[in-house]
């Protein structure tokens, strides 16, 4: 066989000759430095390779090594709490090898090979198992029981299963199939561009609560749903994503920092070990996997990072967990696609993006869902995806935004004006939407309160009325509005400032449970109901809006979850105020 050799180098694109027999999306090693790359185009014997590392110093004539395998990730105990680059190299191990700055050609495995895990067997010899069945588990962190599953494609009878301390490469069980005996280890490999198999998909019906009032109450996302959060820079995309990563009630979080800031990754890394999960009291890092390919790291690896993240997430979903993937930002991923497409001299579509942009985006979001997992136990898992989009100039007609909006069900539209007034989260309530309201109705009725949905609709109506009333007020002055309309303005302002506004950096305000959200909204709407009656009775408007209880309402958000008793007192005070 002819040896593969480099014919041309242009930035991250390398063209190699003599690649007969190579397959699309096979991994290759480029030059003596063994840079990692992937085949993205084949023409006769020539292969176009996108290289995941800096190509300076590489030239024609150097060898290219074909591996014959697609780009894959390693799945097994050791994933949680880890921080990876775009092609699943653990960054702390890289640091040990090459220091504070990332050097090239460093080949480190995704999972620790030597660490011993305690494997607890859950199945016995002679039992029949099929792909996806759980044969045992490892307590990876106090929050995550890592289920060891029979890999896809393997069926048969367990001939042997052990319990004890093993590393991920040691055989823990043997399964005798129809044609061969499979040795099962705790590690699986899976190609990142191929979705992991499932049994069936369902419509999602349970909310993924995030502790963010504007999201949970007004624009909820379901477990297994998709959402996007577009906005100009400085509008708070990343802070919102971090807040969701911190407080959402998913069991596993995969955070993909794709082409974003290095300091933000450092922030996640430094704050997650200290932050406690509000439900379990354990450090958040114990349920988090981070994939970080910052903007100055090689652009091709940025393209891969999204797939690395989602494949890891699917693996945890297969164990029966509810998993949330946060991708920040998908625009940077799309730009990486555009850059490679440009270098391949493909015909550009909109804004220079390749014509296949929207199908790639749709494919990505379609990997979300509430599913029945493989395996005979009848497990269900959920994978939710939330993607940040960074359109140029905040312009929503950007092709990436438009392609994303066509596939996602929830849209959290960030607004520059709100951000400038430091109203955070700067999610514009008139612009945003959630298509999960109907799916979640039953759950909210049964688990929060019967009237919650009604309150929400009423509050939304007030906010919409406010925007049209404000237009009138700007033209004719606020004094010329009727008292009833002015009351609407006052209450809408209260909804905005006392409910929707949420300070991510305040120790209490950063997280609000659904129960507390309901109580807060209820008090605000109760104030509206009582005031409206009084105004109809002819009570002075100034007296009502000057009631001292209103200041208490404005501080409802600072009542700790543990002191929910205070709500009762304030509700009573509210009732008393109006009796007088």
């Amino acid at each position: 066989m002819k040896e593969a050799r480099i014919a041309k180098v242009s930035g991250p694109l390398v063209i190699a000759g003599g690649c007969l027999g190579a397959k699309m999306f096979d991994m290759v090693r480029v030059s003596e430095k063994k840079l990692i790359g992937e085949i993205i185009e084949l023409k006769g014997e020539e292969a176009s390779i996108q290289v995941y590392e800096e190509t300076a110093g590489i030239g024609p004539g150097e060898p290219v090594y074909l591996t014959g395998e697609p780009l894959s990730v390693e799945l097994g105990p050791g994933l949680v709490s880890e921080i990876y680059d775009g092609i699943q190299r653990p960054l702390d191990v890289l640091q040990g090898v090459s220091g504070e700055f990332i050097a090239r050609g460093v080949d480190v495995p995704g999972l620790n090979r030597t660490k011993k895990w305690h494997f607890k067997a859950l199945r016995k010899p002679q039992e029949q198992v099929s792909a996806g069945d759980i044969i045992g588990e490892v307590e990876e962190t106090p929050l995550i029981k890592h289920k060891i599953m029979v890999p896809p494609g393997v069926n048969g009878e367990i001939s042997d299963i052990k319990e004890g301390e093993f590393n991920i490469q040691e055989c823990i069980a043997r399964v005798k199939g129809a044609s061969a005996t499979h040795e099962i280890t705790m590690m699986q490999r899976w190609p990142v561009r191929k979705p992991r198999p499932i049994k069936e998909k369902f419509a999602p019906v349970e909310p993924l609560t995030t502790g963010q009032r504007v999201i949970d109450t007004f624009f909820p996302i379901a477990k297994g749903g998709t959402a996007c959060i577009p906005g100009p820079f400085g509008a708070g995309k990343t802070v919102t994503m971090h807040e969701i990563a911190k407080w959402s009630d998913a069991q596993v979080i995969v955070y993909v920092a794709c082409g974003e800031r290095g300091n933000e990754c450092a922030d996640l890394l430094l704050s997650f070990p200290d932050l406690k999960d509000p439900r379990t009291g354990r450090p958040l890092l114990e349920r988090t996997v981070i994939v970080a390919n910052t903007s100055n790291m090689p652009v091709a690896a940025r393209e891969a990072s999204i797939y690395t993240g989602i494949t890891i997430a699917e693996y945890f979903r297969d164990m029966g967990y509810s998993v949330a993937v946060m991708a920040d930002s998908t625009s940077r991923w799309a730009e990486a696609l555009r850059e490679m497409s440009g270098r391949l001299e493909e015909m550009p579509g909109e804004e220079g993006y390749p014509a296949y942009l929207s199908s790639k985006i749709a494919e990505f979001y379609e990997r979300a869902g509430k599913v029945a997992c493989l395996g005979s136990e009848g497990r269900g898992g959920a994978l939710s995806i939330m993607g940040a989009v960074s359109p140029p100039g905040g312009d929503l007609s950007d092709p990436v935004v438009q392609a994303t909006l066509r596939v996602v069900k929830v849209f959290w539209g960030l607004d520059d004006k709100l951000a400038n007034a430091r109203h955070f989260p700067a999610i514009n309530w008139l612009l945003s939407y959630s298509l999960y309201h109907d799916n979640l109705r039953e759950f909210l009725k049964n688990n929060v309160a019967e009237e919650f949905i009604g309150l929400r609709a009423e509050a939304m109506r007030l906010l919409e009325e406010e925007s049209s009333l404000l237009e009138i007020a700007h033209l004719v002055g606020i004094e010329s509005l009727s008292f009833e309309d002015r009351l609407v303005l006052e209450v809408a302002k209260s909804i905005r400032e006392d409910f929707l506004h949420q300070n991510a950096f305040h120790e209490v305000d950063t997280y609000t449970s659904l129960a507390k959200q309901y109580r807060m909204l209820k008090i605000i709407m109760e104030f509206y109901r009582l005031s409206r009656e009084k105004i109809k009775e002819g009570v002075e408007f100034e007296r009502i809006i000057g009631l001292p209880v209103r200041e208490k309402i404005s501080r409802l958000k600072y009542i700790a979850e543990a002191d929910m008793g205070h709500f009762k007192e304030i509700e009573e005070e509210l009732a008393r105020s109006f009796q007088a």
């Binding site: 014919a7 041309k8 180098v9 242009s10 930035g11 800096e54 190509t55 300076a56 110093g57 030239g59 024609p60 004539g61 921080i83 960054l91 890289l94 640091q95 090459s98 220091g99 504070e100 700055f101 990332i102 050097a103 100009p232 820079f233 400085g234 082409g259 800031r261 290095g262 300091n263 990754c265 430094l270 970080a292 910052t294 903007s295 100055n296 790291m297 940077r332 730009e335 850059e339 440009g342 550009p348 804004e351 220079g352 960074s390 140029p392 100039g393 520059d416 951000a419 400038n420 007034a421 430091r422 700007h474 002055g477 606020i478 004094e479 400032e497 300070n503 950096f505 200041e551 501080r555």
Partner: protein, 459 residues
């Protein structure tokens, strides 16, 4: 012995094609000897089996196809560094510009650098006091942050930048910063202003300047910020210094990048800028930061002029997506005669939260900052209303906010070019302003700080 090629086949703009090459590597440095004996440098942009595309750093004026001799040096562009760099002035390609001697390199560093491993980064958290209220009070800068100044033609960004460079220190210390100054395409007068300012204040003793003027080759500008940042990395991470890097003006840098992209006939992105502008800018800006276990830091202050004052132009837009906030210089305030004309509402510092508060600035800083933002935003809304309806039609509360906005601009924003306000002074001015607003309106401030500071002074 290096091979010398006489096989230049075409020259177009800054790009040169050399034929029949062997053993040439991507991104390798090339030297071209012109027929008049002068020597210019370039870098390999693309290489195939028998052809190399070279981008010249200093232009191709006077080059001819038949006699130009090209040698490939087998290494990438490097900067020779040593402690002697400090106090010197270089041109945009790293040659001495101050008639001083050549630097004897203690070490040679690739000017493209390597990305900092995200898990080796220390999170920036040390407050830098610039003495400017709009920055310290409202958009605080911390060591290791990258915070650009978005300005536009005719605005005093140079004076503001020089004031920051002069006054910046970590709160509570007298310790100053080493300044690495990278000028791309600015005029002689602007460059002279900085150099004079640095000399007069003695700042030159702890500065390194890389200056590419408007009439220097545009292509050289591609290397200038990389030289400056490489120098900064050496000072910060080898010599443990705290470095403030000023890059002015990024707009010219991006235009040079566009020039090369156009010469290569690449598919243009928005406004003709190349599709990889984001990635390219990120490889510059992301070099700022702090590293665990190292004493030094790089704080980056790029300055750019927004074409037509347009924040959505690709250069400010992509910059804003990479940097940790932005300081916006406003024409409106400048017209009102307010210096420094920083518009605080659209300005932002993303790293402020870990750098302020108890033990760093003052415990009430974060709340005061949020409250001032909210009040000033309301004041500006009231001002707009007053324009439409007349001031008389405003409610009492709106009138208070209107007065607040005026007072805010006149006492908080406005300060002298020589005025170095401490952070305590800045916060006290903030409280004086907030005293004019009723208690019930101050929703962003915690009760305990209201008790401690609200309407307390002067009693």
């Amino acid at each position: 012995m290096l091979k010398e090629y006489l096989t230049v086949s075409s020259v177009a703009g800054p790009l040169v094609v050399v034929e029949k090459t062997t053993e040439v590597k991507y991104a390798e440095l090339a030297e071209v000897r012109f027929s008049d004996g002068s020597l210019r440098r370039g870098k390999v942009l693309e290489v195939s089996r028998d052809k190399a595309l070279v981008q010249m750093f200093e232009g191709t004026i006077g080059m001819d196809v038949s006699t130009a001799k090209v040698r490939f040096l087998g290494r990438t562009q490097e900067l020779g560094v040593s402690p002697d760099l400090v106090g010197r002035v270089f041109d945009g390609a790293g040659r001495p510009r101050d008639n001083g001697p050549q630097i004897i390199a203690a070490k040679r560093m690739d000017i493209n650098g390597n990305p900092i491993n995200p898990s080796s980064r220390a999170y920036p958290s040390e407050f830098i006091q610039t003495g400017i209220s709009t920055i310290d009070g409202m958009n605080p800068l911390v060591r290791g942050q990258k915070l650009p100044l978005f300005s536009a033609a005719g605005l005093p960004h140079a004076r503001l930048t020089a004031q920051i460079a002069r006054q910046a220190k970590v709160a509570g210390t007298k310790e100053g910063f080493a300044v690495v100054f990278g000028a791309m395409g600015i005029t002689f007068e602007e460059a002279d202003f900085f150099m004079r300012d640095f000399r007069e204040t003695g700042a030159i003793e702890r500065s390194v300047l890389f200056v590419n003027l408007a009439n220097d080759p545009a292509i050289e500008r591609i290397s200038t910020p990389r030289l400056a940042l490489t120098c900064a990395e050496y000072l910060a991470f080898d010599l443990d210094m705290h470095v403030l890097v000023i890059l002015i003006d990024m707009t010219f840098y991006c235009e040079s990048l566009r020039e090369i992209s156009a010469a290569r006939k690449e598919i243009p992105g928005r406004r003709g800028y190349p599709g990889y502008l984001y990635t390219d800018l990120a490889t510059l800006y992301e070099r700022a930061g702090r590293i665990k276990g190292k004493a030094g830091s790089i704080t980056l202050l790029p300055v750019l002029t927004m074409p037509e004052d347009d924040k959505t132009h690709p250069i400010p837009d992509l910059t804003g997506y990479i940097t940790e906030g932005q300081i916006i210089v406003s024409r409106e305030l400048h017209r009102k005669g307010i210096y420094p004309p920083v518009d605080v509402l659209p300005s932002l510092s993303r790293l402020k939260d870990k750098g302020i508060g108890r033990d760093k600035t003052r415990e009430d800083h974060s709340d005061v900052l949020n409250q001032l933002f909210a009040c000033y935003a309301k004041g500006k809304e009231a001002r707009e209303l007053a324009v439409i309806l007349g001031e008389a039609a405003l409610s009492e509360l709106d009138k208070l906010y209107l007065a607040f906005a005026d007072a805010f601009e006149n006492t908080f924003v406005r300060q002298k070019e020589s005025e170095d306000r401490s952070i305590t002074d800045t916060l006290d001015i903030g409280w004086e302003l907030l005293n004019s607003i009723p208690h019930a309106e101050l929703k962003r401030v915690r009760e305990e700080y209201l008790d401690k500071y609200y309407r307390k002074k002067g009693q």
